[in-house]
């Protein structure tokens, strides 16, 4: 009957079918991972240029020359966009989700392998298109990752707002399509391909997090796609969805009657869920690693699931907190403010459950564990400034200052990056069959953790002192002169932290080829990916479908022969 050819599980032959246009979710996961790795280095390099320019505005850099104020805006636009879309949305979900989710639920592959392949290659095209924006005449766009009109809607608004901005929007639209394909695949796989006994409430929290992330993606990216299409129409067909009557250099442009606020609504209806798309997989990984390496069941599994569902649900109702300063009615602002602070509740539940998991655990401080703890730390540090920003009154002062930059880098940016690091160190043995070096891992961790706090904590003070965001030459502004030492400190910290990432790269590639061989279950974990060989065979379980008898976090089980019970272990009676 429906003999799906893609599921015929003979391994594909030939280099191209095996590594380039592969249908195997594991290969596709690695492709996503390496794409994100490339993107993160581009993004980091751009941030380095920005930081250097802030302190030494006139300095001429090798390769790039002197950075002009508009170049600074291009750098920050591309930095933000690449980081948010091609790193934080790509690596945790497309990369690790793709690789691990099917194995963790006992499936041989994704539900739609062809769609999976298309989704990766579409993402790849999106990346190429956005990088191309650097090289067209006028250069990369200036409008920030949020792309607010009228700046983003007018061809004549500045250098980079010509072809560069068109490429930027096109890239985002392509990315939306790719993410929709991916999201659809993740949800269907989770719903339909769980092995016998893998009930929803026995799924590892990582699976839950990818599943919920996919739902958010499915609902959010469609809206951004529409918003982007309308923006393209404004730019190229002369419509005025987002543009009111504009006068540039004394010249009246042909637009009339549109509203920039429409874009803000559509963008942030996508944008706020997007930050959860970035962070939820990190939460899943943190839960997984904390429980495994503290040798304790996760504290409050069901609470964790409901908290994630709650965060996802509320995430769609708070977009207005990005718009307090755009003339919003105080009543709406009040509603958005209350709803935003409601998200603090499930977030706090998760935080306390992570701490509860660690409490009295027999903690094994392997590198993934360090990163998982670092994730919790950053999540708390970044999260605490959230309720401040959620106050419309305080936001008048803090909006568009470095306070916001510090806040979102801690909670969304680097916390999610720590989730990716935790996932990399944790699943590397399964993916490449070798262990990563622990010493290098620890050095990398401590420099990165300290560096992150050194960069982003002082930004809160800068913001309170009135340093505005997206501002290139503050050294020439009198009232900000006193902030120069702090800014210099941040730049030095950034240079050190970014350099330290070389340790990670060396560790990654060295271990890939020279690391000690990994056993099938080096962390003594319980979930299904550790029951199969390392690296897993083409169909994940060598022709059998596992049967699941236990929940995902049965550590320290009394009476069990070992201190943990694998999910597919039929012999031991479930303690839970």
């Amino acid at each position: 009957m429906v003999a799906q050819d893609a599921h015929a599980h003979s391994a594909p032959q030939g280099f191209i079918r095996k590594y380039i246009f592969s249908l195997d979710h594991k290969v596709i996961g690695l492709q996503y991972f390496f794409l994100a790795l490339t993107a993160v280095f581009v993004g980091m390099f751009l941030s380095l240029l920005m930081r250097i320019h802030m302190i030494w505005p006139g300095v001429s850099l090798p390769l790039v020359g002197e950075i002009k104020p508009e170049t600074y805006l291009s750098l920050l636009t591309m930095h933000g966009t690449i980081m948010v879309f091609f790193v934080l949305t790509t690596a945790p979900q497309g990369g690790f989700g793709n690789y691990v989710l099917p194995i963790q639920i006992g499936a041989p592959d994704m539900a739609f392998p062809v769609l999976n392949m298309l989704s990766f290659w579409t993402t790849f095209v999106g990346f190429v298109v956005i990088i191309a924006a650097f090289f067209v005449s006028g250069g990369a766009p200036l409008h920030g990752w949020t792309g607010y009109p009228p700046l983003s809607a007018l061809q004549s608004a500045g250098p980079g707002e010509g072809l560069g901005a068109d490429l930027w929007i096109t890239s985002i639209a392509i990315f939306c399509v790719a993410s929709l394909m991916g999201a659809l695949n993740f949800i269907t796989t989770t719903l339909d391909l769980r092995a016998k006994g893998m009930t929803m409430m026995r799924m590892p929290l990582t699976v839950w997090s990818w599943f919920i992330t996919a739902i958010l993606g499915l609902l959010a990216f469609g809206v951004l796609l529409s918003a982007g299409i309308l923006l393209l129409m404004d730019r190229n067909l002369g419509t005025s969805f987002y543009v009111p009557l504009v006068v540039v250099n004394g010249q009246v442009l042909g637009h009339k009657g549109g509203s920039p606020l429409l874009w803000q609504h559509l963008f942030w209806f996508f944008g706020h869920p997007e930050v959860y798309i970035a962070i939820l997989p990190g939460m899943g990984v943190a839960s997984q690693v904390l429980s495994t390496l503290a040798r304790k069941p996760i504290f409050g599994y069901k609470a964790m699931v409901y908290a994630m569902l709650g965060i996802g649900f509320l995430g769609f109702m708070v977009w207005g907190h990005h718009m307090f300063m755009s003339g919003m009615s105080p009543y709406s602002a009040f509603a958005f403010s209350i709803l935003t602070m409601c998200i603090g509740v499930p977030s706090a539940i998760k935080t306390f459950n992570w701490l509860g998991t660690l409490y009295k655990g027999r903690i094994r401080f392997h590198t993934p564990m360090l990163y998982a703890i670092g994730f919790v730390s950053l999540f708390v540090s970044g999260g605490l400034s959230g309720p401040f920003l959620a106050q419309p009154v305080l936001d008048i002062q803090l909006h568009d200052t470095y306070f916001v930059v510090g806040h979102f880098h801690l909670i969304m940016g680097v916390a999610a990056i720590f989730g990716i690091f935790a996932a990399t160190y944790y699943w590397f043995p399964k993916m490449f069959g070798r262990m990563m070096n622990e010493t290098l891992g620890r050095i990398h961790f401590f420099i990165t953790l300290a560096g992150t706090y050194a960069i982003f904590m002082p930004m809160h003070y800068l913001g309170m002192a009135g340093q505005t965001r997206r501002y290139s030459q503050f050294t020439e502004v009198a009232y900000q002169a006193k902030l120069i030492p702090l800014q210099t400190f941040i730049t030095v910290a950034a240079i050190i932290t970014i350099s330290a990432q070389i340790i990670f790269v060396i560790n990654l590639f060295w271990s890939m080829f020279k690391g000690p061989k990994a056993s099938d279950n080096p962390w003594e974990a319980t979930t299904l990916e550790w029951t199969t060989t390392t690296p897993p065979p083409h169909d994940n379980f060598g022709g059998v479908t596992p049967v699941v008898y236990h929940g995902p976090y049965e550590y320290g089980v009394p009476g069990a022969p070992r201190d943990f019970v694998m999910q597919n272990d039929p012999a031991t009676v479930s303690a839970h």
Partner: protein
């Protein structure tokens, strides 16, 4: 594989093995289509939001559509409704295993869909000729005078939302017709598409938007060819049912657009 009967119990996933029962007993392809429709309704939802947003703060919102336009749009609506009926018949035929009638009903659905597109295209051309345009269209807005031309000049939101929404919907109907064509006729449908594309491009004058819009067919041709290359198989009752879901959805979207864009902009005497 020869007959297209539906065997719900033997194959749920298309993957052999022992699995948890899927949600609502739906097989993967169906779940996938439902999910796509969920996201697509958000895509349309955003456009409808943009429309409503503009409409609410633009006072007064023009209401130029004559009885003639409404009559035309009503016929279009009837086409789509009938096509949903024939689609249901196609699904029934497929579930019976009746390949000939599956194909006939699908063809009927495609004919109704095409009639919708052609009527819609003529309506567009007429409105554009009377001056309802956006600046990016090939015919300059100054080419016409009259009420619609004034609207285009004074309330550019009106033509922008009208053409934006209906173009997106027309694109969906076009994709739907191609989709059904591929399901019903597989690779035999591609040359037909190619001929239609070239003929359309040559016959439609260059100052008409559809001279450019016709390239959607080329795109459909390429995508269809890729999909047929990747999945060179007969389509079965599942596939017909899934394509039906898509078709009904496109139909449903029109049931929002028709009242919002047409009926609520009828000329008030």
């Amino acid at each position: 594989m020869a007959d297209a009967t539906l065997q719900h119990d033997t194959v749920q996933h298309g993957v052999p093995g022992a699995y948890e029962a899927p949600l609502f007993g739906a097989y993967s392809k169906k779940v996938g289509m439902w999910l796509f429709l969920a996201s697509d309704s958000l895509t349309f939802g955003a456009l409808l939001f943009a429309f409503s947003y503009n409409r609410l703060y633009t006072i007064p919102w023009p209401t130029p559509f004559h009885a003639e336009s409404i009559a035309n749009a009503t016929i279009m609506t009837a086409c789509l409704l009938s096509s949903s009926l024939t689609m249901v018949m196609a699904v029934f035929a497929a579930q019976r295993g009746d390949r000939a009638w599956t194909r006939n009903w699908l063809l009927a659905t495609m004919v109704f869909g095409t009639a919708f597109i052609v009527l819609h295209g003529m309506e567009w051309s007429k409105l554009i000729g009377e001056g309802l345009t956006i600046p990016g269209f090939p015919k300059p807005p100054s080419a016409a005078t009259g009420e619609l031309a004034d609207i285009s000049k004074n309330v550019p939101q009106f033509p922008a939302t009208f053409f934006g929404l209906t173009a997106m919907h027309m694109l969906h109907v076009t994709i739907g017709v191609i989709y059904l064509g591929v399901v019903a006729f597989r690779k035999w449908f591609l040359p037909i598409l190619g001929v239609l594309w070239i003929a359309g491009y040559l016959l439609i004058p260059a100052d008409n938007v559809f001279h450019y819009g016709i390239h959607a067919l080329l795109l459909g041709l390429i995508v269809g060819a890729v999909i047929l290359y990747l999945k060179p198989k007969d389509y079965d009752a599942h596939d017909v049912e899934v394509s039906g879901l898509y078709w009904h959805f496109v139909d449903l979207v029109w049931m929002f657009i028709f009242p919002l864009v047409y009926l609520m902009s009828t000329k008030i005497q």
